[in-house]
């Protein structure tokens, strides 16, 4: 048994033709997050602390669609959202519509721990952030050149766009295989507690005020005493199929093991729409996705670890690894 951790930096149409200068910083961040998480788990930190610290790290990395580096709304602004759930107590916290808070996931945790509510959004969430004295920056801090370019291209193409397209002339080869973004982390600590956390900037060119699956418990994030799950992909599908909740529901009601439950849920959602990371109470890890790729990493106490983007050559058709 022992501790286990899995994290993702978004699933979607990640072209294998992405140049090294795009891939390397992402992989480096995944490695760094894994190292941080493993050190924390070995030191006996709780799963809740670990998922928060990993997601903070991913939010701070400008190459992922969360925190700094979030994709832009149709107004050219950033609206960030996140949620966190403690599998032990099943407490949860969520935030949406943040524009100045450096770490949305930490604010979500404060909502969980410091308010009688679960979910705060927009001006109410920003006001709460100031009450709590969390780190805030001018909205321009979160906006990157890359995302300005992505928005411009999307508006030209007049449709909501994929996240990981190179920000130059190339038109993405597939059409609706294109929702991605979001970062997330799930963990089980050495006491057997489970936790999940997810954070995002949303989708490129979204209508201001649009909320996706990430802050919705049971959609983008879920944890209970059986498992912890964080999802990425097409937000509307993740909501409709209550993806993270369903992994747990299959384990509970059908007695499936984690990998099978995760594979089944992913297979049940339209192709190209979803990826997830999950850990179970027995220390199993799953990183299942039906998108072309998913930035991901995992490690378990027995020494196993993995970092990847695309399915390995010998993985099954679902991209399960």
């Amino acid at each position: 048994m022992g501790w286990a951790i899995a994290l993702h930096g978004g699933g979607g149409d990640i072209p294998r033709s992405l140049p090294p200068e795009r891939i390397e910083p992402c992989l480096a961040t995944l490695h760094r997050c894994l190292d941080l998480a493993v050190a924390a788990l070995q030191a006996g930190r709780t799963a809740l602390d670990v998922v928060e610290l990993v997601v903070r790290e991913l939010e701070n990395c400008p190459h992922f669609n969360a925190g700094k580096g979030s994709v832009l709304t149709s107004d050219g602004t950033v609206e960030m959202e996140a949620s966190i759930m403690d599998g032990n107590t099943m407490s949860c916290g969520a935030v949406s519509g943040l524009s100045t808070v450096v770490n949305a996931i930490s604010l979500a945790r404060l909502v969980m721990e410091k308010t009688p509510h679960i979910y705060l959004a927009f001006h109410g969430a920003e006001a709460f952030a100031r009450d709590q004295g969390v780190e805030t920056r001018d909205p321009s801090h979160f906006i990157t050149e890359e995302n300005i370019e992505r928005l411009r291209q999307t508006k030209e193409a007049n449709r909501v766009q994929i996240d990981y397209t190179q920000p130059i002339k190339v038109q993405p080869p597939t059409d609706d295989n294109s929702r991605t973004g979001t970062v997330g982390c799930v963990a089980i600590d050495s006491s057997g507690n489970l936790a999940a956390a997810t954070s995002t900037g949303g989708i490129v060119n979204k209508t201001a005020g649009r909320i996706g699956d990430t802050p919705i418990i049971g959609a983008g994030t879920y944890a209970n005493p059986l498992c912890a799950v964080s999802a990425t992909g097409k937000g509307d599908s993740i909501i409709q199929y209550t993806v993270t909740r369903d992994v747990a529901a299959l384990m509970e009601h059908r007695g499936l093991q984690l990998k099978e439950a995760a594979a089944r849920v992913v297979a049940g959602v339209p192709l190209g729409h979803v990826g997830l990371v999950a850990v179970s109470a027995s220390g199993e890890v799953s990183m299942a996705y039906n998108t072309p790729g998913m930035f991901r990493a995992c490690a378990t106490e027995d020494g196993y670890s993995e970092v990847g983007i695309w399915p390995e050559a010998d993985a099954d058709a679902n991209g399960e690894s």
Partner: protein
């Protein structure tokens, strides 16, 4: 052809000392809304049209906590939210932070049908409403004198719940004393004594004569909530869910409903455990809520109705094609 069925609710967590006159008024409103749904179903309307029409009616009547008559935020304003789900194809729409749109459930439906997204909130939702030409009114339209009074009591009660040394005085003494004794009796919902708590939310679940389901939920939310607070009502899987097997709408303590993904769980239990509707409802109410208080209404794809709640009362009504029709409040 399937058999149609409809269930509606006006909120769970009812003050056992609610005056008889208020109870009768509530039952009249429930009966009227139920009849509206029944008439539409008999005329062959779709489940989606029926849930929207019925919830619009519940929102418009100030009797319940949604639309006009919504509970107030701690700032004394109204922030409404709603969601709707089409069991045929799982499309869904939701809105939060709505402050001027007359019928939030209709805005939720427009989000589902006319926007590229599933959920819009606050300024974005308000802008979209205007783009779509939906009826908007001043925020004051939604505010009733009764709720202004209730907000005041709620603010005082929140003090009472944390500090019993606060002296009671003035005309509100009876209510506050009742509140304190409610707390002593343990009848508290969402941190408020039951005499002050405004049962949150209205909802409707329907299966039409083609066997298609839909569900919708609408609310003003928790009395004295922080501005920006979102509850379970706009969250698909928590307050609202519909699929081929069933349609569900929940009400009660938002946190409990969200953590337990209550609406989705009724469907999941039917799907993965093979339980029939009433058993699935009972299972979820009994096993999923822990110390939380909530209720729900549901219909199955085969024309059954069911409801369940673990708190003091739920305003509800249900009707099936074979002529069964009832409204109720208590067990």
């Amino acid at each position: 052809m399937g058999r149609w069925a409809i269930a509606i609710h006006g909120g769970a967590g009812v003050d056992p000392n609610l005056p008889e006159q208020r109870q009768e008024e509530a039952k009249r409103v429930l009966a009227r809304c139920l009849q509206l749904g029944v008439d539409l179903l008999r005329a062959g309307s779709s489940a989606l049209d029926v849930v929207e029409a019925v919830v619009r009616e519940l929102e418009t009547d100030p009797c319940f906590n949604s639309g006009r008559g919504s509970a107030l935020t701690r700032a004394g304003t109204v922030e409404m939210e709603a969601s709707i789900m089409d069991g045929r194809g799982r499309r869904c729409g939701a809105v939060s932070g709505v402050s001027t749109v007359r019928n939030p459930v209709s805005l939720a439906r427009r989000v589902m049908e006319k926007s590229p997204h599933s959920y819009l909130a606050f300024a974005g939702a308000e802008d979209f409403a205007r783009d779509q030409g939906l009826e908007v009114v001043d925020n004051s339209y939604f505010i009733t004198d009764e709720n202004v009074g209730m907000l005041k009591l709620a603010k005082e009660a929140n003090t009472i719940l944390f500090d019993y040394r606060v002296p009671l005085s003035g005309a509100d003494t009876c209510a506050l004393a009742a509140a304190a004794s409610d707390n002593a009796n343990g009848m508290v919902m969402n941190g408020l004594p039951i005499s002050i708590y405004a049962p949150e939310t209205v909802g409707c679940a329907v299966v039409d004569s083609n066997g298609f389901t839909a569900a919708a939920t609408s609310t003003g939310g928790l009395m004295n909530k922080m501005t920006g607070r979102i509850g379970d009502s706009p969250l698909i899987g928590a307050g609202t869910y519909a699929c081929g097997l069933c349609a569900v709408s929940c009400t009660g303590e938002g946190e409990a409903i969200i953590r337990s993904t209550l609406a989705r769980d009724v469907a999941a239990v039917m799907e993965y455990k093979g339980l029939p509707l009433q058993e699935a409802v009972d299972f979820c109410v009994k096993e999923r809520l822990d110390e939380g208080f909530a209720g729900l209404i549901a219909v199955s794809g085969t024309g059954e109705v069911a409801y369940g709640f673990n708190c003091t009362g739920m305003f509800r009504g249900c009707a099936t094609e074979d002529g069964f029709m009832e409204v109720g409040i208590w067990e």
